[in-house]
Subunit: 343 residues, 2 copies
Amino acid sequence: MVKEKLGSNVTMEFKHQPTATLAEVAEAAGVGESTVSRVLRNHGSFSGKTRERVMAAVERLGYVPNRIAGTLASTGSRLVAFVIPSLSNIVFPDVLRGAGAVLEENRYQAVFSVTDYDPGKEEALAAAMLAWRPAAVMLAGCEHTEGTVKMLRASGCRVVELLDLDGDALDIAVGFSNRAAGRESAAFLLKRGYRRIGYVGHDLNRDTRAGKRFSSFCETLDAHDAPLVAREILPGASSVENGRLGLERLLARTTDLDAVYFSNDDMALGGYFHCLAEGISIPSKLAIFGYNGLDIGRATPQPLSTIRTPRVATGEIAAQLVVANAPAQAVDLGFELIEGATA
Amino acid sequence: MVKEKLGSNVTMEFKHQPTATLAEVAEAAGVGESTVSRVLRNHGSFSGKTRERVMAAVERLGYVPNRIAGTLASTGSRLVAFVIPSLSNIVFPDVLRGAGAVLEENRYQAVFSVTDYDPGKEEALAAAMLAWRPAAVMLAGCEHTEGTVKMLRASGCRVVELLDLDGDALDIAVGFSNRAAGRESAAFLLKRGYRRIGYVGHDLNRDTRAGKRFSSFCETLDAHDAPLVAREILPGASSVENGRLGLERLLARTTDLDAVYFSNDDMALGGYFHCLAEGISIPSKLAIFGYNGLDIGRATPQPLSTIRTPRVATGEIAAQLVVANAPAQAVDLGFELIEGATA
DNA sequence: CCGCAAATTGGTAGCGCTGCCAAAAAACCC
DNA sequence: GGGTTTTTTGGCAGCGCTACCAATTTGCGG
């Protein structure tokens, strides 16, 4: 399993190598340290020939500026910290992708850690992130422990809450309303004439955004005298397999459903596959509705009926606001209901 | 779209807030700076009551240590830099997830940037990462520009190459052989009796690992006198939609295929959906084989035939080796062929 | 060729912490 | 109780860079 690489100096070469420093570059170029610094950051004024001499020395020594030192010396850091619930749920990589691109362009650096949907862990990780004195901290949702909130408030760094506008924002919030999403999903199913509706979801205590969608979904059904008929909540994270299992269980208990709302597209796909496997015709016998608008839902034999959320855009906008040091605000990016063919 | 949050002091509160420093804590606790430092890092010796006084002061001032300063002052950083091709391809979030968990436990911090499969960008980003003086840089694969290699060599930090063992490693390599994966995929299809085999893939110039699988797949077919019948290569990244489109095109050109190898599971799922939609029965009329072993492939009506790769484990092992400052080595985690029901 | 403004430059004090060393205090042993 | 150890502590010099300020050089008009 583990094949040691043949060769002599295995560990030797990793002694902390004396990297060139700014002072050495200055010396080599025959100029002052501050001049090198100015040239490298292209900030302040310097003559063309100075620039060339400095760059030549940089090249010659293979100098790579030390951002740690630079950040410490200057006032503001160019780090942005992400504290996200999960990397398995594609939602968060999508947000990271959007934000990462913008941050990169602006020479910011993204650092991240994963909470596993655990508010306690979120607090601990937020504290750990703050130790890097980031320019901003980005978190999922607007539900945080008291400790987290207090800490973030006290930190003086920008705070961006992502993907959930149903609550009070600490500073910047970018996303959309999950309650509205739940509401519109219900309204859509009702409009289509479905009345006996069930729900298959994953652990809602942890994923509060899914919880919000679900509760407003139910409220809407109630308001139309078509209360939820049955639900199946699986412990653990959302997954295609859980969706399939959940629907199977739900149908075993409840025979006359005409539509099922899933906590998200992963779950819904699982449900869809279950129907395909069992020969349950969609949507005539059973309708399926998801949430997220994953690309895969467009390529299934029948496009999935769902709500497409602006995940990448959420990351982009969030990053742009941070880079621009925009004032506190909430940005509603909305979402799009995809009619699809499964409902 | 953008609703300004009502309220007065919009920007004021973000002036660089004077966070408490170690010196202030020391002062407040009535001890020396080094004592505070020792207590906080639980390193060196100090009495129980000193500890309490320090912790009380820390609590009182809401002190959060500045890791930037700490890192600069101490020799080695606890940063690990990831330079990955993509966040859309679930492979990389999976690796990050595995590595992130281990790094977190060991109080390391992950930073990342995304190359979009562009070697030039990889070089630029690697340079940017090096500026943070990370303990290690993790890259995908073992194909890098000359500049990247030179830079990494000179940096003196650990280098980990992930997910590809077919090549010379710079330092540590963790993953498996893509060539072997391609070979075994071909062998499996041949063993099942398929002889007229096609391929649907995404941009192989960029994704060199997929390219390696494909070329050794073809070699194996050739060696068994069943050369590849047709191929359809789509520009751009892999996706379910491209897989579907690719298979559609391939079948339009070539009528008598009995199996298709896809560049990965995303693509294969697309192909699978195409067959479902067109009523092409699987695997009797057409077999489908993927790569990656995504969870979703286990939940489809017919489990996808594929190769399951140890993505999370790759991240975990890589992180463990870095944390342990292990000697240079290549770790072959292997992969598992999932027979599934689509081939 | 002088005087003054503008453009360049270098010196240096930190940024907040750690690592080293020596001083002080506590513990221990005849 | 004196002489050692051993533990606990504080002081302080950097880590490599940036920000500020003062010094130097250059440009230009008269």
